[in-house]
């Protein structure tokens, strides 16, 4: 068998062609992240505050998803959902775009992972913050949105970034159900060349994914730096300056925010 020499220029030729299909990859990943975050919030709420049945449902769901390979989940959604929709709502899903199935599967996946991130972040904010806010006369909704959420969001940011990157990578599986995204296009290119240039085209895909991951890492790092300004020195005593400032503004008496610092 004759072995073909690795053709470096093929990577350059394939890159622009592959990049045209990047939008589909990003659309699938982006919408899964958006919907998944909503699902994750619901699940985190159920785990933190929900009544017993909801709590167990959320815990069980998270556990099951964590134990399921994403490709199995994707296939179950892809083959199972049309049947379920047909028998329950007599709704025909067979003509639906394959991207929809990918988004549903990855939403389920991302929701489970991110709910743990949200839960942990919320629990990392000292309970006294909430109590202090309520004592100072905020309603529980206000206390949550103005005091707890900003602090929890900052704590969640690094793990959220990691989850986004890993979802982007999981998203690469979408081609297995026939979605023509970045890798789907790469496979098409390879078969157009009768199986040649496989190495070069896969390398080009790898480079694109790596660049995206590095970019996201950089962006999340910057965001964390920017949002976490002024609390680096006293990591232990991070009893949230912002909430104190808010309370000070609300009640010029000033000492309101220190009730929790015992």
């Amino acid at each position: 068998m004759e072995t073909r020499i690795f053709d470096f220029s093929m990577i350059g030729t394939a890159l622009p062609d592959l990049l045209q299909y990047l939008d589909i990859t990003l659309l699938v990943a982006g919408s899964s992240i958006a919907f998944g975050s909503l699902l994750g919030m619901l699940l985190a709420w159920a785990k933190l505050d929900g009544v017993r049945p909801l709590y167990w449902l959320a815990q069980g769901y998270t556990y099951i998803i964590r134990c399921t390979p994403s490709i199995v989940l994707l296939f179950i959604v892809f083959y199972g959902l049309p049947e379920a929709a047909d028998s329950i709502f007599s709704y025909d899903m067979n003509d639906m775009h394959r991207g929809v199935f990918a988004v549903i599967a990855f939403t389920m996946l991302f929701g489970a992972y991110i709910s743990e991130v949200f839960r942990a972040a919320y629990m990392a904010v000292p309970r006294g913050q909430y109590e202090a806010a309520v004592c100072a006369g905020l309603s529980s909704m206000q206390a949550f949105f103005h005091i707890m959420l900003p602090q929890a969001a900052l704590i969640a940011l690094p793990n959220f970034g990691n989850s986004v990157i890993s979802l982007l990578k999981e998203g690469a599986l979408a081609y297995t159900i026939g979605l023509i995204d970045l890798i789907g296009r790469g496979n098409l290119l390879i078969s157009q060349n009768f199986g040649a240039y496989g190495i070069e085209i896969y390398l080009a895909c790898l480079l694109i994914y790596w660049a995206m991951a590095l970019g996201l890492e950089y962006i999340f790092g910057k965001a964390e730096q920017y949002l976490g300004k002024g609390r680096g020195v006293q990591a232990k005593k991070r009893t949230a300056r912002s909430s104190k400032a808010l309370l000070k503004r609300l009640f010029s008496a000033g000492k309101g925010g220190e009730a929790h610092e015992t």
Binding site: R66, C67, I71, I76, S87, K169, T176, L206, W210
Partner: protein
């Protein structure tokens, strides 16, 4: 929606026959990756700029790219590379017949898991106070001996949750080995599925098998962690 339960029962037992391949792949990969990951983590922490940035680049590349692409790349690269090497060496063997796809899968997952474990061990090694190494050296032990007897046992206990995660991810990740025609759980399920178009039932079986396997692994790690961190209770 009607599930063919009889088919599901039969396939469920059939799918278990793939568990052997999945588990032996996992065990082999872990056996190589754990020492290698530990070594790379130590290298990353202690050696000069060039070597530690090389390790960093490797870890960043593996962590920044989808495993499915790594599989596709290695599976299209490695066999022809080995074949060319064998021909250059003048061996008249056909590499494509000689080496089972299982070994290519082992290579990919080892490269992948090693990178992940390097990160796990790096953070667990930084959790061990520097004084432990210094104390060992002061007592006249060599750096290697100090690592072996003092630092590794402590770092391992710290690393166990991360190791458990990596193992579960590896078991889940091996479900992609069917792309390399390895006959693991997923592949057996896929073959059973396409035989009678019972896709949903077959994949539900596969899903159940993975659920059971991952549960067993996590329980195992919980027991191990309780045992290995006994030294902490004495503090």
């Amino acid at each position: 929606m009607r599930l063919d339960f009889e088919f599901m029962q039969e396939t469920f037992l059939l799918v278990w026959s793939g568990a052997g391949t999945t588990l032996s792949l996992t065990a082999l990969v872990l056996l190589v990756s754990i020492p290698l990951g530990f070594y790379l983590a130590a290298v990353r922490l202690h050696s000069g700029l060039i070597i530690s940035s090389a390790v960093r680049g490797y870890v960043s590349f593996v962590r920044g790219t989808p495993i499915i692409l790594q599989i596709l790349l290695v599976y299209s690269l490695l066999p022809s590379l080995l074949n060319a090497a064998a021909q250059a060496a003048g061996l008249s063997v056909n590499i494509f017949d000689l080496i089972e796809p299982f070994w290519y899968a082992a290579v990919v997952f080892t490269l992948n898991t090693t990178a992940l474990l390097t990160e796990v061990f790096r953070s667990s090694l930084t959790a061990i106070p520097k004084g432990q190494l210094e104390a060992g050296l002061t007592c006249g032990m060599s750096a290697f001996k100090t690592y072996l007897h003092i630092i590794v046992p402590q770092a391992l206990a710290v690393a166990l949750p991360g190791l458990c995660n990596a193992t579960v991810n590896l078991v889940k990740g091996t479900s992609l080995a069917f792309l390399m025609t390895v006959k693991d759980i997923m592949a057996v399920g896929k073959i059973a599925a396409s035989y009678g178009y019972n896709y949903l039932e077959a994949y539900l079986d596969v899903f159940l098998v993975y659920l059971i396997l991952c549960t067993i692994i996590q329980l195992g790690y919980a027991v191990l962690e309780a045992r290995l961190s006994t030294f902490r209770a004495k503090l």
